[in-house]
Amino acid sequence: MSTDLDALYQEIILDHYKNPHHKGLREPFEAEVHHVNPTCGDEVTLRVHLEDGPNGQRVGDVSYDALGCSISQASASVLTDLVIGRQVDEAMAIHDEFLTLMQGKGQVEPDEEVLEDGVAFAGVAKFPARIKCALLSWMAWKDATTTAQLEEAQ
């Protein structure tokens, strides 16, 4: 049991929880979203800033303000580490990889090359009730990015 617990609360997660990266809401941004986990009340407000790069759109910045448990806070922090500065399509691929890991019921082997600190969330997949916590900011990021792209297209 303590082993499961340790698999969930890996050192990396607790570190991100205590010292979240890129936290706070910043300018500029093209889209801001507010997501809530209706069943428990965890909330995140998240902004996305997209930049034009040499090979297409890039994630210029992701800033956020979140209220929630260790898993949801750490996950937001890891998200920003992984996507800021990437091409948008690369970042979306990382998003998909993280989603697959979370929905894999503990059967998916995470790819450290792609997910970096995100691999620490492998243990979460075994706690069905906590998967939504881990995904909250990722869903918000995807939503905000799509919104920003739509805005731009108009």
Partner: protein, 421 residues
């Protein structure tokens, strides 16, 4: 007999109640399945296992039992979605019965939103509807000033489509009709009517309470213009428990409808001043849902899928043909509704002039035969055929030809008991 379910005897063993012995040692002959179906052991056992091992509230509970109960409930949604070929599993809303589903629609259309109904708008139903697809629309019309209109019936119990183009017009906001009639057995041309309704921009709601138990349904594979916008059915008629029903709705429509019941589970966030709502299906599932009932329904539709809905349908047709033949041989007996088994469902209503349906039902009951007598929640359809009530036999996948024989014999006996010659 051709078309019967393979291993019918074995299938019957799945239903514990079929072994029931009634008063005077009479075995049960259950011919009231259009009223409610019997339950196979696997449905009962699944519910018991849930209650004895996995019971917890869902969504909100973070512990192991909560996760198990949530998974069981959401798995049931997947199973139901597969059973009707729903394009998207989140389009499946669990209600308490189909009556609630019909009211959900009629009720939300009264309130502001893109589909709000008002004076000058028309709602179209039919004269063969179950009361549950009449009264909600009467209430809506009474309360909003909209007008209720309906298809009449032909003498052989079909929809009179002669005035369809006048009836469904640009004022029509909703066409809500039964797929298979619970009284007349008629299978309606729902695709054709949906096409016409969609031409004028009306919503189409199908009452599939009798269709879901008998016909294979695959929403995703229907042509877009023939697919209903909403479809409902009720758990207890598809070998599932009472207390649970299904409302499927096109997602874009469900998203637009205002909330129906407010409360726990259907919210995104709540302050005293204002609330926002969760996405579908949760928006329409206020309060603790019928959890163990949904789980039982999941087992029920799985059971039907294993038998194969094509096989169930074929069985129903075979028994219905056999019953129509037997019934029509009873002197004086008049079947209300179509008499071609390939064109109808398994509910057969009839009258025997000179014996009131109650008296028929009571005589049959003393022989262990359960049929329904009365208006079957379809008073207007009875009025259309000039009768106040009728006797109805309705078969299902567990019905045998021998049971039909017993019915026919019982009817002969009834006639003689009441001195008809």
């Amino acid at each position: 007999m051709e078309g019967l379910l393979p291993d019918l005897d074995v299938v019957r063993k799945d239903f514990p109640i079929l072994a029931r012995v009634l008063a005077d040692g009479r075995p049960l002959i259950y011919l009231d399945s259009a009223n409610t179906s019997q339950k196979p052991q696997v449905v009962i056992d699944t519910m018991v296992d849930h209650l004895e091992r996995h019971n917890a509230n869902i969504a909100r509970a973070m512990h192991q039992l909560g996760a198990e109960a949530t998974a069981a409930y959401e798995d049931a949604r997947d199973k139901v979605a597969a059973f009707i070929g729903a394009p998207d599993r989140d389009e499946v809303v669990f209600t308490k019965n189909i009556t609630e589903g019909l009211n959900l629609l009629a009720n939300t259309l009264a309130w502001p939103g893109p589909h709000q109904v008002g004076p000058g708008d028309e709602i179209v139903i039919t004269e063969m509807e179950h009361h549950s697809n009449i009264v909600p629309w009467q209430l809506l019309c009474e309360r909003t000033g909209a007008t209720l209109r309906w298809f009449g019936l032909t003498d052989d119990g079909r929809l009179d489509l002669s005035n369809v183009d006048e009836l469904i017009n640009e004022r029509t906001k909703v066409v809500s009709l039964v797929w298979v009639s619970n009284m007349l057995g008629t299978i309606n041309p729902v695709g054709e009517i949906a096409r016409r309704a969609h031409e004028v921009g009306a919503l189409v709601m199908l009452d599939a309470a009798q269709a879901a138990p008998q016909l294979p349904i695959d929403l995703a594979s229907m042509p877009d213009d023939e697919r209903p916008d909403l479809l409902g059915f009720t758990g207890h008629k598809v070998v599932g428990p009472t207390g649970v029903g299904v409302l499927w709705g096109r997602r874009s429509l469900l998203d637009q409808l205002p909330p129906f019941l407010g409360g726990g589970e259907m919210i995104e966030t709540v302050t005293m001043e204002k609330s926002t709502y969760a996405p579908v299906p949760h928006k329409f599932e206020a309060g603790t849902p019928p959890i163990v009932e949904a789980v039982g329904l999941g087992a029920a539709v799985d059971y039907l899928s294993v038998l194969g809905m094509d096989n169930v349908h074929r069985h129903e047709q075979a028994i219905t043909a056999y019953a129509l033949e037997g019934l029509q041989a009873v002197p004086g007996l008049r079947v209300l509704g179509p008499t071609d088994a390939t064109q109808r469902g398994g509910a057969i209503s009839f009258e025997i002039p000179g014996v009131h349906p109650h008296d028929v039902a009571t005589v049959l009951d003393t022989r262990g035969i359960a049929v329904r007598a009365g208006h079957h929640c379809a008073k207007p359809a009875h009025a259309r055929f000039g009768v106040q009530s009728s006797t109805r036999m309705s078969s299902y996948l567990y019905t045998t030809p021998a049971e039909i024989d017993a019915l026919v014999e019982g009817l002969e006996y009834t006639r003689s008991y009441f001195g008809l010659s």
